[in-house]
């Protein structure tokens, strides 16, 4: 066991403004929430107020989209200060972002862009993760992204690259079940190879989400319910990794809270089938204490 590994939180959801009221009024059975960090890097108003109220009742995890850890542009210090300031307010259980880049020359393309799996890119990312971890004073959690292209210059597989980043930079991993499924389809690799290729003790979180199938490729859109194939792969991931904090992502066509909670319950049921009592959520864990 690696020191200070984030706790197992059970089954969570992405916090979305459409659900603020229902969460505060209904106290739904959700173990924790993940916020998009950038959406709360603001000065005041309702979003921060709601977040403060919700975090009184639920553990929060911070998930960013603009760290751009693999970019060759200099690290954005203004962004890092804002991230640290938000973390001091929110006191997240962990802070995650994506193993990708979002732009160079001061541009943010607002997309999670793929990295060539080369030794050069590996060394670059590892150095930057180290700098960010030193600045934040805590380990970072990095997520594998969905990708649509592969580079001719890649020297290793994605899982080898992800694993090496985690080992050399000493960071945690967010295993996005849907992204592995999407990239495996797009690039023709086996989801099992990825699953068995990453270090088990580094994985602290799962993402599960829906996508859009375009026949020859799949696009990671987070605008559909989770499909059966991704649930099947989730089942394998749970069997392989054991209890890992699980979260359903929905960013577009956001349905009423009850619908996403039903999907979360599906994840709970799968985990319970595979793991039995080891898959308990936060509420059951607290009741048992």
């Amino acid at each position: 066991m690696i020191a200070d590994k984030p706790p197992y939180l059970g089954f969570g959801l992405g916090l979305r403004p459409q659900h603020y009221r229902e969460i505060l009024e209904g106290n739904p059975d959700i173990d924790w929430f993940e916020i998009i960090s950038e959406n709360y890097m603001i000065e005041g108003g309702q979003p921060l107020h709601m977040l403060d109220r919700i975090r009184e009742r639920y553990p929060i995890v911070m998930h960013g989209v603009s760290l751009s850890i693999a970019s060759t542009a200099p690290l954005d210090l203004e962004y890092l200060f804002a991230l640290k300031e938000l973390a001091e307010r929110v006191k997240p259980k962990w802070i995650s972002d994506h193993l990708c880049w979002t732009g160079v020359h001061g541009v943010n393309l607002h997309d999670l862009l793929p990295v060539p799996y080369t030794e050069e890119a590996l060394e670059h990312v590892v150095e930057r993760v180290g700098q960010v971890q030193d600045f934040l004073g805590r380990r970072l959690t990095l997520e594998n992204v969905s990708s649509y292209v592969s580079f001719g210059q890649s020297e290793m597989t994605e899982w080898e690259f992800v694993s090496e980043v985690a080992r050399r930079a000493d960071c945690w991993l967010l295993f996005d079940v849907n992204n592995v499924y999407v990239s495996a389809f797009n690039h023709g690799f086996s989801t099992d190879d990825f699953l068995h290729g990453v270090p088990r003790d580094r994985v602290v979180q799962f993402h599960v989400a829906g996508h859009s199938h375009e026949e020859t490729h799949i696009i990671d859109t987070h605008d559909h319910p989770v499909c059966d194939e991704v649930w099947d792969f989730y089942r394998e991931a749970v069997a392989h990794f054991g209890p890992v904090s699980t979260m359903i992502e929905r960013d577009d066509n956001i349905p009423p809270l009850a619908e996403v909670v039903a999907e979360l319950d599906h994840a709970r049921a799968i985990a319970r089938e595979v793991l039995g009592d080891r898959a308990q959520g936060r509420s059951q864990l607290e009741a048992a204490e």
Partner: protein, 269 residues
């Protein structure tokens, strides 16, 4: 082999400028050719930002209709690559962008409609401050009222419109047919601010706008009353000034007050 830096620059040019050099660096998949696959990134960039603009400028979108709004959004996206950590601020130049466009020269209401939507969005997540309540002024002795200075609420934004854009916004927000655009004989002062977590706005009379602008500069209440008298006539000037102030207090447009010493601290000795 391209360095990582060169690869990322080429990739970015492929998205922003439609440059196909990146295709030499990527593979076909066994199911699809590389151009289509890279196209996923190209299309997502424009589609994502256009969607964000549509959300940020909902009433501009409703006013222009899908086709004209899509043309405007695409032109804006091409002219303004995002430099923001959050897409929340991507559209912040849209009012100026519309104002600068020849094709909108005959429709000045569109830039003003955009300016109003931007101000409402800015007020929504501007810094918090407890609104100043009238009770807080109960401790001020009547003879000291002339020395009062006020802090505007930090969410307050002053606009001035030459068209009936505010009326158009209200009609669209209520999902009713907007009035025909028209130029106003006098500029219309508007104040945007946040009350109870909701952004709102209201038109001000020329006199109230004058008093607000001076109050926001830190002018004392006694002097504000004199200015109102000069602006709109001496009869009832104090009552008018007190009525404006009461309105600001009742709707949370102020955040604090101070009592200035009778002798101006900055006056020469």
């Amino acid at each position: 082999m391209k360095s990582l830096k060169e690869l990322q620059e080429t990739f970015q040019r492929g998205i922003l400028a439609g440059d196909d050099s990146i295709l030499a660096e990527i593979n076909d998949s066994d199911k699809e050719n590389r151009k289509v696959l890279f196209g996923v990134y190209r299309n997502a960039y424009v589609a994502r930002l256009a969607e964000i603009l549509g959300q940020d400028y909902e009433q501009v979108h409703a006013y222009l209709g899908d086709e004209a709004f899509a043309r405007l959004a695409t032109a804006y996206i091409v002219a303004n690559p995002s430099d923001q950590r959050s897409a929340r601020w991507f559209g912040r130049h849209l009012p100026d962008f519309v104002r600068s466009r020849e094709d909108y020269a005959k429709h000045p209401e569109v830039a003003e409609l955009a300016a109003l939507e931007k101000a409402l969005a800015d007020a929504f997540d501007a810094p918090d401050a407890e609104p100043l309540r009238i009770d807080a002024l109960a401790t001020v002795a009547p003879e000291d009222w002339a020395q009062l200075v006020f802090d505007p609420h930090p969410t307050a934004i002053r606009l001035s419109f030459n068209t009936n854009a505010a009326e158009i916004w209200s009609a669209l927000a209520n999902e009713t047919a907007p009035p025909a655009p028209k130029a106003l004989p006098e500029p219309q002062p508007i104040l945007v601010w946040r009350q109870e977590f909701m952004s709102r706005f209201r038109p001000l009379s020329a006199e109230e706008a004058m008093m607000w602008d001076e109050a926001a500069k830190g002018v004392r209440f006694g002097v504000l009353c004199e200015m109102v008298a000069t602006f709109g006539g001496e009869d009832d000037a104090e009552l008018r000034a007190a009525t404006y102030l009461r309105g600001w207090l009742d709707t949370g447009m102020l955040a604090g007050f101070a009592l200035e010493p009778r002798q101006n601290r900055n006056s020469p000795r």
